[in-house]
């Protein structure tokens, strides 16, 4: 059982970081970023190129992945989403644009990096054993890094000026603008930050599970689920949703093992029942 909980926490830390990026973009821009999974994949491939092929230190690779995705996010916001939000009459249009971007990134990643499953060498060797708990050190390190990123993100949102500005924007865009917050700029920053978080997780996880160009869509779906469980647009909700999904997955895979591959089916159905009772998730605001 300890093993199951440890696995759940490890998964949850990754998932929470993915969900944070998605929820940040949603909170600031009201955009449902369909391309989040693809951004994750891109981050994974950047680390594969820099750490796996060019043999540079892992930290450098991770920074490269974060920088690439931040630039990509900023460019997408500046040249696509901002324009469409301004011109479109219905905010759903951005969803369509995001779906287009997701397809585009899918195709581009496939063309650039090929369809093979890619992995890199371990960042640290060895296995941590305690009682009947067995965890490879690299998983512990990756989970630790993920938690460190989450804490850093929360501290930034709480105590820095850009963080305060973005929280104000998420609460009420117009009021924030009236108070002198440059909303256009912080929209750009938020989008870049959200994309960066997706890239960071991709970069972290490539060392353990590897990456291939087809997993973007499924990752996006998982991210949507976490955000729905926790409530869209709320930082605490994203973290809670991530850990809950990680835990459910870990427990489900153990408990439902004998019934075949039904874990996700059960999770989906449980989530629908949960949403019927709490349509806005654990801590979400009412929407629409």
């Amino acid at each position: 059982m300890e093993q199951v909980i440890a696995n759940g926490l490890y998964l949850g830390a990754q998932y929470a970081l993915i969900a944070l990026g998605l929820t940040l973009i949603f909170a600031l821009m009201n955009v449902l970023n369909f391309a989040h999974g693809q951004m994750y994949v891109l981050g994974g491939f950047v680390v594969y190129e820099v750490y796996g092929l060019m043999k540079l230190p892992f930290v450098v690779a991770l920074i490269a992945a974060a920088a690439t995705l931040a630039v990509l996010g900023a460019v997408l916001e500046r040249f696509l989403f901002r324009t469409v939000i301004r011109r479109s009459e219905r905010e759903e249009s951005t969803m369509l644009l995001a779906a287009g971007v997701a397809y585009f990134l899918d195709a581009a990643i496939l063309l650039i990096f090929g369809e093979k499953q890619r992995g890199v060498r371990k960042i640290v060797n060895g296995v941590f054993m305690w009682d009947n708990l067995i965890l490879p050190w690299d998983r512990i390190l990756v989970a630790g890094l993920a938690i460190a990123f989450i804490v850093a993100f929360i501290l930034m949102m709480q105590y820095t000026k850009p963080g305060r500005a973005m929280r104000a924007m998420a609460q009420d865009r117009t009021a924030a603008q009236l108070m002198g917050v440059p909303v256009a700029f912080y929209g750009l920053v938020g989008f870049a930050l959200g994309a960066m978080l997706a890239g960071l997780v991709g970069g972290l996880l490539v060392t353990i599970t590897g990456v291939n160009s087809g997993i973007g869509g499924p990752i996006s779906i998982k991210a949507f689920m976490m955000v729905m469980i926790g409530g869209a647009g709320v930082v605490g909700g994203a973290i809670a949703g991530g850990f809950i999904l990680g835990m459910l997955e870990s427990v489900g895979l153990t408990v439902l093992h004998s019934y075949g591959d039904v874990t996700y089916l059960v999770i989906f159905i449980a989530m629908m029942i949960f949403l019927a009772i709490r349509p806005n998730g654990l801590m979400g605001k009412p929407w629409g």
Partner: protein, 327 residues
């Protein structure tokens, strides 16, 4: 409706029917491109499913879950035909009704969600349908159901109304007529629905659910009704598709299909009943044309899509809706 406008509509319908049932088959016979029968049947069936999505748009919800109902309908028909030996013609309406019934059960809770939440949950629903098909014993898991017999003859009092499809030299031709006829029926039904009292109630719900509710519109009931009709169309489309392909797998309708159904509606224009038909035709043939570009197909397709959104974010035929106001 004035007389001249009525005459105009009748003429338009006559032209449409003549084109679909006379001109296209004649053109195909003349050019010998019988493969087009299959392509056009696919367009017709996808248009039926997209029509369902359009109806959910009409009540103000973005439905990215139509693939789920196409899959459910396809499996319902396939199981009835292969396991229980039903005739395809009987299994078709039953598959549609089964989808409608199931969607009522699912719709009751999820239709309480709005905006992005509803979209996300319907997207997840597509995945639920796929996983269910993988897990249930009756659907035969990942191996799917294959070698489904083609639809047989319909005989009434000894008179053959529709000959069995196996008697045709080219089986795709009768399927084309079946799909085109179903598409015509479904869109005629949709048009009638939108112009009925129910359609006005749906439009009222789209503009403001609270306001409609305060006027005495039974919003929770009506949105389930709309969703059931939408899923019925999805199930019908899926069931005929399976009959053409003679096989169904859990991956027959995936999230990509669900997204495409939504795109068809957007492209064709949301304010126009026949929009999904146009959107499906354009998207399907656009995708087919790009096939020649090989590995760049998806890149170009999505690039064009992004450009379209930049230039025409409100859709090709967008008849503007009164804005609901930002929440």
């Amino acid at each position: 409706m004035t007389n001249s406008r009525r005459a105009g509509s009748v003429a338009a319908v006559a032209v449409f029917l003549a084109a679909v049932f006379v001109a296209i088959p004649l053109a195909i016979a003349a050019t010998g491109r019988t493969d087009l029968y299959y392509t056009l049947s696919s367009v017709a069936l996808l248009a039926i499913a997209s029509g369902g999505v359009w109806l959910t748009f009409y009540i103000g919800r973005i439905n990215i879950g139509q693939g789920a109902w196409a899959l459910v309908g396809g499996y319902a028909s396939a199981v009835l035909v292969t396991t229980y030996g039903w005739s395809f013609w009987l299994s078709l309406p039953v598959a549609g009704l089964f989808c409608a019934l199931m969607s009522m059960l699912v719709g009751l809770p999820i239709l309480r969600l709005r905006g992005v939440y509803f979209s996300m949950v319907t997207l997840v629903l597509t995945e639920v349908a796929r996983l269910t098909a993988l897990a249930l014993p009756i659907t035969n898991g990942a191996r799917g159901i294959t070698s489904i017999p083609t639809p047989g003859a319909i005989r009434l009092f000894g008179v053959t109304l529709v000959p069995g499809f196996e008697t045709f030299a080219n089986r795709n031709a009768p399927f084309y007529f079946l799909s085109a006829a179903m598409m015509t029926l479904c869109f005629a039904g949709l048009w009638r629905l939108v112009h009925s009292r129910l359609g006005r109630l749906f439009a009222a719900m789209r503009q403001n659910e609270e306001l409609a509710s305060s006027m005495g519109v039974n919003v929770p009931l009506l949105r389930v009704v709309a969703y059931a009709i939408s899923s019925f169309l999805g199930g019908i489309g899926g069931a005929i598709f399976v009959a053409i392909a003679q096989s169904i797998y859990p991956s027959s309708f995936t999230i990509n299909d669900s997204v495409n159904f939504m795109l068809n509606c957007f492209l064709g224009g949301l304010g126009f009943v026949f929009g999904p038909m146009l959107g499906t035709l354009v998207l399907y043939f656009g995708w087919d044309l790009l096939f020649q570009t090989g590995q760049y197909q998806l890149l170009i397709y999505s690039g064009v899509m992004i450009l379209l959104m930049l230039v025409l974010p409100n859709g090709l035929l967008s008849l503007r809706w009164p804005s609901r106001g930002r929440p």
